[in-house]
Symmetry: none
Subunit: 413 residues, 2 copies
């Protein structure tokens, strides 16, 4: 089946934001075995939006629209779809009640008048629940075409697609698509591709597709079969082959993030964790705390951004800072040890580096980061040089730090 | 003049990469005063590519295509444009020489046969030099339409656009576009819109467009005029009107983030900052450290995720935790005070809350967050209930924390 994406939003046309939603949906459609031939971005303009919907309906089976479902007058997606499909907008009682509930405990004293617009739906549309916002998702069936309207905010879109839209699309398909993602950390994209060139060349069913993420590479294996069980049977030997080739660099073959893997590993081993961050400034702690239930494991994080804090909170010696500098192997080592000692945690991860754009020298360039890990009475330290802007360098350091915890525990004798 | 973007590449349709080129070009076009109404992504398929080009030529004045200019058989952009415009492909001697030069100093011993394809251009096209790769950029003029073909790799595209395409487009334009963004924090999107409904209704030049961000609303005011100075004159009274309506809720009218505003305000007042985070787990610290130069101001962050850490690092009393709980006004108050005392910082922000999805009760539901701020020997504490998933609740708390620092300092007597 042929699917088409329409992203609605003037902020995309003005270049205010990157269209990450389109990438997410394209990736999801690929993993569902749908053929995506066109993506269009159109602004909050009724005439152009309607002509775009008409064109999509003339050449694709499934049209997925994102954005323009908000409460403001600029939000025209639902109205335009209703108009093109010649369906009246009617009040959906369930959505009305959900909006009331949503506002009940919020910071708002009363529900803004404009929000009631969100309870109106094209007559006969299937409503998709939104647990993260007020705009409902909608599925409209018209002339053997399926039109799916989804909210633009990322957290609303992602949850709604995975929980409600993907199963809906899967049951429309003649063949069942099954996929598994093998997640790799610590090897670059081109190295990963070189290692599996031969597999990609001969692939038919299942297929292998690499996706580069910050500090990670994901390999998605997708099989078409008459049942999920048969699909899994096709995938299993491929996963085994990848495990043989990449070994410990594969951190999971499940739908879990690197930080979830780390927290689960620590829990399984009965270990507690502390962090001592400088250049990442809490980014590592924030990713760990992003895992629900991390509080069993994660005790404390020290964001020791100043030298004084490094000395006072986690016992980095004045002499060490003076002799080697804040960004050095020696300081990183003392950060991990001091953080572990002060917190009493079993594992402590230290990060110190130069995120730029200023502060780099020839000897210590922007991107230089030391990552240390205290575990089992020994301290591991490694030096890295990351590329990119301040944010990108900090993100890469954070991923590498998570992977360092994982590898230190797994490789410890 | 109306411009349209066409991104060519199957890797975009599969979701392998994010379309950052489209954002770059969209932003460049906006700053050149061009109206961008459509962006399309299409794969390396002759038929679909040609129909996309034809459609674009029927509704836009300038069509910018990126990608598909490489040497392989998959690269079809130039051939498709030539075909639609009914122009023969002819050898461009200058480009042929440039390709020879390019390979001379490269790692390749001889020029791959396929690269000569890149020296073929639609008859009469203007050639744009590529100093970073082999594919030339091209400008084709046909039936009063301008078609611009640019390479896909980012370093080739950005340089070619800025150095050669932007000046070319600028001299085609009669009017200059100027815009200003008014950034608001602490008021919801629909409430903001309700407050400026009358202004939006009568807008012609300048126009006002709201953009909802997490915890923020941005209003972009855009004017068309014969010069930038005239554009600014049109924008000024609108900004003043918005300032009158929203007061302190406007945190900036410049191109700066909330954390930059907070850091600059602290610097101006000569104040140092510490943070004491629980549920946000370092997200606040990370945003602050995201500002280059924050190290002058930001001394230390305590991620006190456990009760023990709250007691040990920032002096929260055992009795307070026992009597009121970790998520309470009282604990928040002691976090801000203890963090300030331990760090010696002038300002200390405290956050404690329940990010969910577990841990909520009827009395203390998921989303409950207390934010406290120690400043000037007094402690401000406020209770919030945020909506959304774990990530969203933490993001909203972080934005609110930044805004709390700003307001505490500005409103302090």
């Amino acid at each position: 089946m042929v699917v088409e994406l329409i992203s609605v939003g003037t902020e995309l046309l003005l270049g205010n934001i990157v269209n990450t939603n389109a990438q997410f949906l394209a990736e999801q459609c690929a993993s569902l075995g749908l053929s995506l031939y066109f993506q269009t971005v159109v602004g909050d303009n009724k005439e152009r939006l309607e002509s775009t919907i008409q064109l999509a309906m003339s050449r694709s089976d499934i049209i997925i629209l994102t954005g323009g479902l908000g409460p403001t007058e600029d939000d025209l997606t639902k109205e335009s779809v209703a108009n093109v499909c010649e369906l009246p907008l009617v009040l959906d009682e369930t959505t009305k009640i959900r909006i009331e509930q949503y506002f009940k405990n919020s910071v708002y004293k009363e529900i803004p008048e404009s929000n009631w617009k969100q309870a109106m739906i094209p007559n006969g549309a299937k409503v998709l629940e939104n647990n993260n916002g007020t705009a409902p998702g909608l599925i409209v069936e018209k002339d053997s075409k399926t039109i799916i309207l989804l909210p633009g905010p990322q957290n609303e879109l992602y949850a709604m697609f995975k929980e409600q839209v993907a199963p809906y699309l899967n049951q429309m398909q003649p063949e069942i698509i099954t996929s598994t993602t093998v997640k790799i950390c610590g090897i670059g994209e081109s190295q990963v591709e070189d290692k599996i060139k031969d597999l990609i060349k001969v692939q038919t069913n299942p297929t292998i597709a690499p996706y580069a993420k910050t500090g990670e590479v994901h390999l998605r294996i997708t099989a078409k079969a008459s049942s999920e069980a048969d699909g899994k049977k096709l995938i299993k030997p491929v996963v085994q082959e990848l495990k043989d080739r990449f070994g410990i660099a594969i951190y999971t073959t499940k739908e879990e993030s690197l930080e979830e893997v780390v927290i689960n590993l620590l829990r399984k081993k009965g270990l507690s964790l502390a962090t001592a961050e400088s250049c990442t400034g809490g980014m590592l702690g924030s990713r760990i705390v992003g895992v629900s239930g991390a509080s069993d494991i994660y005790k404390v994080g020290y964001i020791t951004y100043s030298n004084k804090a490094k000395r006072k909170c986690i016992d980095v010696k004045k002499d060490t800072l003076k002799k080697y500098g804040a960004v050095s192997k020696e300081t990183a080592r003392e950060m991990a040890r001091g953080g572990a000692f002060q917190s009493g945690a079993d594992v402590c991860l230290g990060i110190t580096g130069i995120a730029g754009p200023n502060g780099g020298t020839e000897e210590k360039p922007v991107g230089l980061v030391y990552i240390s890990c205290f575990y089992n009475n020994s301290i591991y330290v490694e030096k890295y040089i990351f590329k990119g802007n301040r944010q990108k360098i900090r993100e890469q350091a954070t991923v590498k730090a998570l992977d360092t915890i994982r590898r230190c525990i797994l490789e410890s004798k």
